[in-house]
Symmetry: C2
Subunit: 241 residues, 2 copies
């Protein structure tokens, strides 16, 4: 199954001017298509921070998605950071320059900046406004504006897809220290099933236990063991596949 | 001014089971108290990932806040990861063991795990449920449950506080390529003012320009220059200090 990291580039997120909508969207959509999102980072629009984060994530995961910093203004430095991550040079891409002309934008430093990408970049056409998604090695560069991020991620989703994860949950009306031993034992006996435990204090204190696996047989077995061991007050089985 | 990074430790966030509420809360609250949040990372409950992220962030920023992974179950490994980040050993802390007894929890492996912290850890009493915030070097370890995270961050907020940032904004009804040159020039002339530019496509296409600074005189000057250069349709001045 493919793994991915998301790098959200945006001073405006860290300083609280805009909420991050792209992280939550990526979490939901990558989950649906079976791409394993292992890391999200939110960093400022700084070349050094972008280069370091993209280089480390590109080496550790199958895919890296970046969000933001691809416009025409002085604070848009994502392509410079991605180039620095891999030691690549930057040059205006003829197809992107043509797009600037087609959109009737003035041909100045600002519009040229938007068309200037790392050497060897691939352009993926996405059926919406005609602006392609730029790929540099295993890094896909997305705009930060949520509406555009979502449409463009949708456009390249087939490239990222894998086997989807089945999930089940149960709710136990006890404190976590009373269920920890049973969880540890079932987790150890079912290594392909990820078991999570989340205490909640709204209403009567309870623990939400979740089971995730790409192996539906193992998931069913672990689920049955936990139902027996924990006497849950509520269960949500994995939907049939 | 102090800088900080937030490390959200939670498989449940990356897999979409629960939304991350602690990142948005930390963004808002740290902004209010004048602590400069420079990085947010969301990573799984894995010792190696926690150790690497905490070590890198502790070296780069004044403070690191972690969220999650401090309970009694098999997937709670934050203290092990923080210890590994600094090469520290782990041992049960007598004050935390006493707390386990005071709360009437069973004395088993699970409750002992919650009381086991890196050597040399400091405990900060927080006036709520009596559970202290654990500090290891410049790292503050918080629970992931949003209600607890918020109360405990509130409790140690005075330790993180600095000079607050003043902010102003204006809205321009033009596309970004037409304002980029003016923004770059005002940004270059006012290095203590951070100028951001955010295109939006809801309704009529427009650009939101923001100015942030701890220097209110410089902020006013840059704001006046941009008002003259850009003919905004809407302005929000920095509130007086």
């Amino acid at each position: 199954m493919p793994t991915a990291a998301l790098v959200v580039i945006g001073e405006e997120i860290l300083s609280g001017k805009f909420p991050d909508e792209n992280g939550p969207f990526a979490i939901r959509r990558l989950r649906e298509i079976g791409c394993d999102l292992r890391r999200i980072t939110i960093i400022p629009d700084e070349i050094g921070a972008i280069a370091a984060e993209v280089a480390a994530s590109a080496a550790a995961f199958d895919f890296v998605l970046t969000s933001g910093g691809v416009g025409p203004t002085h604070d848009d430095v994502t392509f410079v950071g991605v180039a620095a991550a891999f030691g690549l040079s930057l040059a205006p891409h003829p197809d992107l320059l043509a797009l600037v002309r087609r959109f009737g934008l003035p041909e100045n430093d600002a519009s040229r900046q938007m068309a200037t990408v790392p050497a060897g970049a691939l352009l993926h056409p996405v059926r919406d406004d005609g602006v392609p998604v730029v790929q540099v090695r295993n890094v896909f560069v997305f705009p930060g504006v949520p509406k555009l991020f979502q449409r463009k991620l949708e456009g390249i989703a087939p490239l990222l897809a894998g086997t989807t994860v089945a999930t089940a949950r149960l709710v136990v009306r006890r404190t976590e220290v009373h269920v920890a031993a049973a969880l540890a034992s079932v987790a150890a006996a079912n290594p392909t099933v990820a078991i999570g435990s989340y205490p909640r204090y709204e209403g009567e204190e309870h623990v939400i236990v979740t089971l995730d696996s790409r192996d539906t047989v193992a998931l069913s077995a672990a689920f049955a063991e936990l139902v027996t061991a924990l006497d849950p007050v509520e269960v949500v089985r994995a939907p049939p596949v």
